[in-house]
Every structure is written in C-alpha cells, then in structure tokens.
Amino acid sequence: MCENHLINTIFTDFQKSLDGEQEIREVIRNICKEIGQISREVTTVLQVIHHNEAGIGPACLKARESFEKAREGYGKLKEAIPDTDYYKYQEHWRNITQRYCFLIALTIWLEKGILATHETVAEILGISAEEEKTGFHLDIEDYLCGLLQMCSELARLAVNSVTRGDYDKPLQISKFVMELNAGFRLLNLKNDHLRKRFDVLKYDVKKIEEVVYDLSIRGLRPKTDEQ
C-alpha cells in the first residue's frame, strides 16, 4: 500500500512473522487451557488429604492418571513451539508448570515420602530436565517454585493431620521440609518471584515447628527410631 517497495516488504514480512507468532500463541493457549483444567482437577482431588487419611492412596492414583493426560498436553506443547523459542512463550505455561511440579512432588511424597527430583518431575511430564540452547524442557526455577508450593501445602497438612488425630505425619513433614529448607538456603536468588515465594517458606517452617512443639509438650510426639 505504501509505494516504497522495500519498506513495504519490511512491514509485510514482519506482519507475517507476527501472525505466525499469534497462531502459535493461540495453539499454546488452547493446550494450556486443557492442561490447566487437568491441574485444577488434581488439586481438587488432592484436597481430600486434609480431611481423610484413607483417601490419600486413591487420590494419588487418580492424580497419577491425570499426570498421564497432562503428559500428552505437554507433548503437544513441545511440538507446537519452535526449538529456539521456549523462553519467548514461557509466560503462557509458567504458572501451570509450577503447579504441576507442586502436584507431582506432593503426590510422590505422599506415596513414598521422598523428594521428587527435577529429572523425575520432568520425566513424568514427558519433557527434558536439561536446559540446552534449544528445546522444550522443565525450567529449574519452575521446579523450585513447585517445591515451595508443596511446602505450604505440607504445613497445612501438618495442622489438619493433628485435627484428624494423626500425630505421626507432622514429624515426617517437619523432617522433610527442614531438609528442603536447608537446601533452599544454598541458593542465590534474585529479587524475583522465586525469592518472594522462598520468603514464605520461613513461615511454613515456623508453622510446622509450632505443631511439633504442641505435640511435644503434650507428650503426643511418637517415638521414632532415630531418636
């Protein structure tokens, strides 16, 4: 429309690449909607752990099934995004991925009482754990954010376990979260989202310690093998 041919080309070329980007974003948005919905379901399923001991096992099973479905979504995501552009579009799935890290790590802890590694979580989502020049992967910061979310949920679980009369779990939680706390202190965080989330960890740890203290002074603390 503009008579200078070269300038015309510059702008139409750019519009084309914008359109391409727009399309990719549309695809991403749809996939994210889907896996976001699944993550919300898992979250709801896992709520049962706060009120019903017996429900934990089945809830984990259900969660595992959902992770399978999420894995498919991540597969599609991996395909949709050009190899070099992971960080260009990251904002779209960042929150959701952090939530999956949280949900997977929580499930694994409920199942086996151990920490899900970066590799394990990535594997469950069917993506790489390595950040390379190109390619879709599980960003280490998202993994760490997920762990912090898990700690908050575990603090809540410690409180509700006692309400349910389970005096055992708070101690397990305490031991586990303290290890994570020691781990997080090894990191140099910038003043970003992860840092803010990390500041919350202190309060989670404090809450858990208070529960353990409450049990101790009432002699409700179970004897463990270690002590």
Partner: protein, 249 residues
C-alpha cells in the same frame, strides 16, 4: 526438630545434592545475564555515538568521510561485543536473556538503518542484518564452527521506530543546510514507515511507540510544508533583487 534435622543432615544428602546442582545452574544464569547486560550497554553507547556522528556531517565531502568512519565503527561492534553475545549464548537459549540485550540491539539497529539510508538510500532489512551477525569460529583444536548472534525481529522493528525520530532530525537539519531534496526524501521515508506501522497489529510494544512515530511524521511534514510555503511565494524567476513594495498584496 529443625536443628536436629539440620545437624543430622549428612553432607552427601541427596536432597542437598539436588540443591547444590540447582545453585550452580542459577548462578551460571545470573553471571551470564550480568555479562550480557554489560555487553549491551557497550553496544548502546557506541551506537548512540555513531548516530551523532552521522548527524554531524554538513557538507557532501565530510559526509563521505563520516560514512566511512561509521562503517568502521560498526565493524568493530560486530566483531567485538556483538560477537561476544553470540559466543556467550552459544549453548544457552537466547530468548532466556533477551531482556538483557534488547536495549543494545535496538540502539544498534537505529544507528545501522540510519547509516544504510544515508549510504545506500535504502533501509537495511532484517535478513541482511542477521547475515552480518554470523561468525566462523576457529576452535583451539583448529576446527571451524559457525556461531550466530540471535537478533529478535522485534528488536529490529523497535529500532526502526526510533529511526523515524533520527530521520525527523535529519530532515529538519537538511532544511537549514539548504538541502531540500534530502528533506523531501526523508519526509517520504518517515511517512512510508508510519504507514507501515499503522498496518501492524498484534504487538503491544510497537503500539506504544506509534504515537511517537505520529509526532515525528507531523514534525517532518511541518518542515517540508515550511519549505514549500516559502518556495510558493518565490518562483525562481523572481529571485532577483526587488523592492519590498512590489511584493505587496
């Protein structure tokens, strides 16, 4: 319990190992980011200076000298900091650090396109700039490999929006140095670019800059208007000494 746990944590705890690995990765990222910010600042300041250099020439002869000097300084940037950015990001995703380098890239494009317009009367295109950012590196073991400094297209376009400001300056300068052709040309380029930007949709950053571009168009149009209004009054044949009274009415 806390203290007990802490004390009882063995040095080879697998949990701690995970975090030690994470700490390394995070530190790497931060260090790399810092190095890139510094490279970007170097590019920014030198590009700004080249732009001033390009404005400084008044006569045709001095312009040629200026263009030559500008070209040499671009080459230094390409072989220096821009190459370093490419090497720095050889094994890391470029977009992860795009915020660290965007300011430098944008200013570079502003300078580079202004130069190309002055030297060739054409705006250097995105693919052409990208081509200049490709390097052949000799490894220590003698093998050659290609490294490319990735320039996001959006940085190129954002640099172009700022170009309209420099062209506006150039146009007004050229009026006062009596070069009305250059002024008309610059005006049309700014107009064409404005028309181009008007048609672009789907990018927030560009949208924000549109009003600045519009202001630049208005300024440059007022400049050529002034040129024309003056000219309208004085057809060349009348450029003879005459008493002011003859010009009345």
């Amino acid at each position: 319990v806390a203290r007990e746990t802490a004390i009882s944590l063995p040095a080879d705890s697998p949990v701690l190992a995970i975090f030690r690995a994470a700490a390394l990765k995070l530190n790497d990222r931060q260090d790399r980011h810092e190095r890139l910010v510094k490279l970007s600042r170097d590019i920014t300041i030198e590009s700004k200076r080249i732009i001033f250099l390009l404005h400084s020439a008044i006569t045709k002869e001095s312009q040629e000298k200026t263009l030559k000097e500008a070209d040499e300084r671009f080459q230094k940037l390409i072989k220096g900091p821009i190459r370093s950015i490419g090497l720095e990001l050889e094994n890391s995703p470029a977009y992860l650090h795009s915020r660290a380098v965007t300011a430098g890239f944008q200013e570079y494009i502003e300078a580079r396109t202004l130069y190309s317009l002055m030297a060739t009367k054409q705006i250097i295109t995105f693919p052409e700039v990208v081509k200049e950012f490709s390097y052949t590196i000799q490894s220590e073991d003698g093998e050659e490999r290609t490294v490319v400094t990735m320039l996001p297209e959006i940085d190129y376009m954002l640099g172009l929006t700022d170009l309209t400001g420099e062209l506006m300056r150039k146009a007004i300068n050229s009026i006062s140095s009596g070069d009305s052709d250059e002024c008309f040309q610059a005006c049309q380029v700014v107009r064409d670019m404005y028309t181009g930007f008007l048609g672009i949709t789907g990018n927030r950053l560009l949208g924000k800059k549109l009003s600045v571009t519009r202001a630049n168009v208005a300024k440059v149009e007022m400049a050529v208007y002034a040129l024309r209004v003056r000219g309208g009054e004085a057809p060349p044949t009348l450029l003879l000494p005459a008493a002011p009274s003859e010009w009345e009415g």
